[in-house]
Structures are given as C-alpha cells and as structure tokens.
Symmetry: C2
DNA sequence: CTGTTAGCGCTTTCAT
DNA sequence: ATGAAAGCGCTAACAG
C-alpha cells in the first residue's frame, strides 16, 4: 500500500510536496531544476515524485505559460500519397523537441476544416501546419489567426501566408537533363490530368529545358490520368507513331509502370532502346518494376521537416511569407 | 477601436463579461447554455463573445473537468500500409464527437514509445490507441496506466489488454471457399515471410478449409517475401511443376501482381485457365492490374473506428479485454 | 436570475 | 533555502 489515497484522481504536486514534507512551491522548484533548493530537499522531492509516479499536469502548466507545446496538423486527405510523408517529416522534426501534434483530417471538406480549426485554437495550439494532397493553391485559413500557420505541399492563395512546395518545374527540367546527359534525344512526356498544377509545372520544366537543348518533345505533352492503364495506352500509341522515341518521361510511377509493361510486350528493351523515368519515387512501384524504375523524388519528408522548422521560427517571432520551393532529386535505377 | 487592451494575449471570459457588463460566472453560464440566465443577458454575452472572437480556453476547462477530450494515437510506423487506414478510421470516429487526436509515431522504437507515452499522459489524454503495422503480438504498454488503452492491428501480448485484429484465418478460409465455389480444385498458396503472424494465420485458414473440402494444397504453402518479384518467381516455378493448378491465392496484392505478370507472359489466361486472388485490397495495385485483381479486404478503417468506439466505452467505464477479431471481406474483380 | 466565493494544478514573485 | 500568496482562465456551488 503505497499510494491509494485519492481513489480516482492522479497524484498532484501537492501529493508530492506532502510526501516530501515541503511546500508545493518548493516541490515545484525542485522538480523543475530551479536553483535555490537545497540538494537534499531536491532529492527528497524527486524521490517522492517517483514513488507516487507523479506526472506534471501539462494543462496547468500550459495555462500559466500561455504556451502549450502543441501544434495542429490539418490535412486535406489522409489517404493521399502525399500528406503522409510530410506529416511524418513534421512529426519527426517536432518529436525531437517537446511538441505534441494534433492530427486533423478535414477530408477535403472546408466545413470540417473550420470545425477542426476552431477546436485546435480552443486547445491553444502554438501553431498550425496545413497540408494538402495536390500542389494546386488552396484558400487561406485567414490572416487574423492568433497563431502562425505554414502551408505544406498545397500552397495558400494568399501571398501573405508562408507556403512550402516541391519544385516541380525543376524536377521536370532535371529529368530532361538527366536523359540528355545519357544520350537521349527523342524524348516524350506522358502525364496525368491536365488540371493538376503538378502536371502543368512538370510539363513546363520539361518543355522549356528540351527547347533549351534544341530538342523536340516527341508527341507533345500527353495528359491523361495518373494510372497504369493510361501509361500502357499512351505508350502503345507513342511507340507506334514515333518508333524513334528513345526516352519516356512519366508523370508518376504508375504511368511509368504502365509504360514499362507495354514496352516489354512490344519487345522494346529498357533501357537499351528507350529510357523510362517515373515521378514521385513511390518505392513500392519503383522497385517492383522490371527493371527497377528511375524516378524523381520530391523529398516530402524534408518538406514536412522544414514546415516544422519554419513554424518554430514563426512561433519565435520570425515570420516569413510567400512560396518557398524545395528541390527534387533524381533517384537513378535501372530504366535509364 | 474595440478590443486592443491586452496586446498579445487572447480574449478571456473576463473580457467577454466586462464587455457585456456581467460577471464572469454569468458569462460562463450564458455561453454554456446553462438555464438560469435571462435571454436578454445571454444574447448580450453571446454578442460580446462574438465581437471579440472569444474562444474558450480548453486547457482551463480541462483542468476543471478532469477530462481533456483528447486521445493519444501511438503508431509503430506511420509509413506502413496498415497503420494509416486504421488511424483514419479512428480519427473519423473521434472527429464526429469533440475529441482531438494526438498522433505519435514511435518509429518502431520502444524508447521513443515510452517517451511519447509519458508526454501523452502528461497532457492528460483521456485514452490511448496503439496501432501496429503487423499482426504479430507486441508488448503491452503496461497494466497500471491511468487511462484505458486499445491495441489495434498489432495485439498486446497481455490478455488483460483489449486488442482488435483482423481475422486472417477467416480471410484465408473465405478465399478458399470463394475459389471452390467457382469450380477451382487445384489451389496453390504463395505468401510472404514466414515470421509474419499474418502469413501463418492466412495459411492456416487456407490449409484447414482446403482439407475440409477434401482438396490438396498444390505445392504447399510457399513462403517468401511480400514482393512482386517473389510473386513472379514463385509463380513461374509453380506453373512449371504443377501445370494443372487452377487457382492461386496470394499473400498480398503485390505478390498477386507478380503472379499475374508471370501468367500473362506464359500465356496462361486469367481467369480462364487459372484464378488469382490478392490480399489487402490495396486499390492502387488491384485496379492497376490486368485484369483487375480480386482481393481480400481486411477492413482496416472499420477496425480503427471500432477501436475508437471501444475506447469511448472504456472511458465511460465499460472496460473489456482479450482479442477481438474483425471479419475480412472479399472484393471480387476480374481475376476470379 | 445574477454575483460572490472557491477552487482545478501549477508557477512565480515576495517575504521570511 | 523555504513557504505564503496570488493568479493563469474557467466552472460550480452557494448566496442574494
């Protein structure tokens, strides 16, 4: 029988103080490493705290401090391929400190988003990260929020907000350079739906870099859907109409998988006759492919980590705004 | 100039009360829908609250109530295929109420898990959900926690804990029944690593159901890895050694994709000559496949939602324990 | 109906 | 070095 005094409720600092035979004030100082405490006293307090497994009530601490050590993470759709790595990166960056993260999935619904926002503000989060699943701009949460906000992946439409996005234009450009450096001259581009900013940005990077090299874009930018099916179909048509094509840039890894399937069945050797590149570097697709797929990684975890860092800075008063683009990186495998 | 009194800090109930010309107590009652308040007074208070965009401080409320309306979600690895849908289901189920969720990724590290646990307890969460990425039993968080815990997907080794897992034995059994009902009699099973409880459970369900039907398991349970590569290799060997096989049960959708690839290249018609089934129903794989892959769905979101419900019940005092298995469900597509 | 008083658990002056 | 007292923002008895 050690504890068992207040049946339901958890031990408080007062319990510790009583047990140690000191006042709450002293107990507080002892536990928080304040200096004016006699070593012996501190030891007694610490021991008492351990004995009753005292855990300080962060709510009470937060009430006083005016800071809670929590942040809110509002995501548009959790199931998406993109929110998650960002979230992981952020969680990781926060986790190193003493921050805890509230996760809210708005399910792409702005009503629900507002609801979550209110809840988070009520819980006095120190800051917010809003992550989207497409790079298309999204409405701002508003300018007059009492805490800083960082937008990740999906930028805010408001220039006064800080948004972090992958540099898809550069990603597209780099993939062209990469193929050109390997001697490819007849490059095609098969991508997803045209209404995705991501698709447009990459296309822009590809087209401009190709013309900078004085090279044509074989067959023009072919928009379709982000699926294997489309990758197969588009590739079938491509190699029929342009038998001289020697490089295929795909809008994502699934399209690339479709392309590889069609090429294999047509007896085209990869990378012998034609090189293929994916985008997103979704490992389960790239390494399941035959041969393993070269892809462009958009460094989502880094983006999440940076979002966390920027949020910290903003909480500390260093507020930025505008759109910050993060570099992509090519992960070479066997298809190039 | 309406507010602008306390520069940095957010409006408190006292600000509202002052503005409305009432006491804090009355303001509180008015805002919380307590009855003994004159309608006019209430209106004045509500108006005042809106005018200064007052948001009640949930920390203060939680301090008094002894309940915070928050729960902790500790996951083994966020990137896994399995934690996420569970998390979504739970988030959804909680979201309908007024709960907020702390997300913690322990990265499979028990030190980090303990760290997060302490942080969550300090924040006075009302309950915890622990989600794993494999169905293999995991160590308990401990019996003497001050809040209820529900384990999802990865069950606790402690029988006194409540664990929720998919019924993989039944999932395996059902897949056999499904193929048998479609006239298949020579069924094989290619699956992942043997040290996965999931692989063993499914194998058990398959083997026992097959023998209940008086049918053989062609080639025995073939353990390997959860990859397309393995699916291709194992299938190549299978159709060479057992040209009479007419059904292939795969341990996951990736293995099934590999199987389909090999079968197509060998000229075997699916589902004409042989039926193929995946497991997990990972849509990006099942609907990218040619033909679309029939698969077993383990209803992860439902599992997450149930975890949330069970946690609520436990918070309300209705504590259960033991392992609860949730049914799987076959999603028929074109490969069967 | 409304206001006063007393805390929730903790930290922080300010005396002692 | 220690403790008494005030107060963070809010709610819940109690009086009036």
């Amino acid at each position: 029988m050690t504890i068992a005094d207040k049946p339901q409720s958890r031990p408080t600092l007062r319990d510790v103080a009583n047990l140690a035979g000191v006042s709450v004030a002293t107990a507080s100082k002892a536990l928080n490493g304040r200096d004016q405490v006699h070593p012996d006293t501190r030891a007694r307090v610490v021991l008492a705290a351990e004995k009753i497994s005292f855990t300080p009530n962060a709510l009470a601490q937060g009430l006083i401090a005016g800071q809670t050590g929590t942040v809110g993470l509002i995501t548009g759709d959790l199931d998406g391929r993109f929110s998650l790595p960002i979230l992981m990166g952020a969680e990781d960056a926060f986790g190193k400190g003493k921050m805890s993260v509230f996760l809210c999935d708005a399910r792409g619904d702005s009503i629900r988003e507002q609801y979550h926002l209110d809840a988070l503000l009520s819980r006095r989060v120190d800051g917010l990260i809003v992550v989207g699943s497409r790079t298309d701009p999204r409405p701002s949460l508003g300018r007059n929020l009492p805490v800083p906000v960082v937008y990740a992946y999906a930028p805010s439409t408001d220039e006064n907000d800080l948004s972090l996005v992958p540099d898809d234009v550069q990603g597209g450009a780099d993939s062209v350079d990469f193929l050109v450096a390997r001697g490819r001259r007849k490059i095609a581009h098969i991508t997803g739906q045209m209404d995705y900013t991501a698709a447009q940005d990459r296309a822009r990077g590809i087209e401009s870099t190709l013309s900078a090299h004085g090279l044509p874009l074989i067959g023009g930018t072919q928009y379709g859907s982000w699926t294997e099916q489309w990758g197969r179909n588009a590739t079938a048509r491509l190699i029929e109409q342009h038998p001289d094509v020697d490089g295929i840039l795909c809008g994502n890894d699934q399209i690339a998988r479709g392309a590889l399937d069609t090429l294999r069945e047509a007896g085209w050797e990869v990378p012998g006759r034609v090189s293929v590149m994916g985008y997103d570097n979704w490992e389960v697709f790239t390494t399941g492919a035959r041969p393993h797929l070269t892809s462009v990684d958009i460094n989502l975890e880094a983006l999440g980590a940076l979002a966390a860092r920027r949020l910290f800075e903003a909480i500390d008063g260093d507020v930025r705004s505008g759109i910050e683009s993060l570099p992509c990186r090519i992960v070479p495998r066997e298809t190039t």
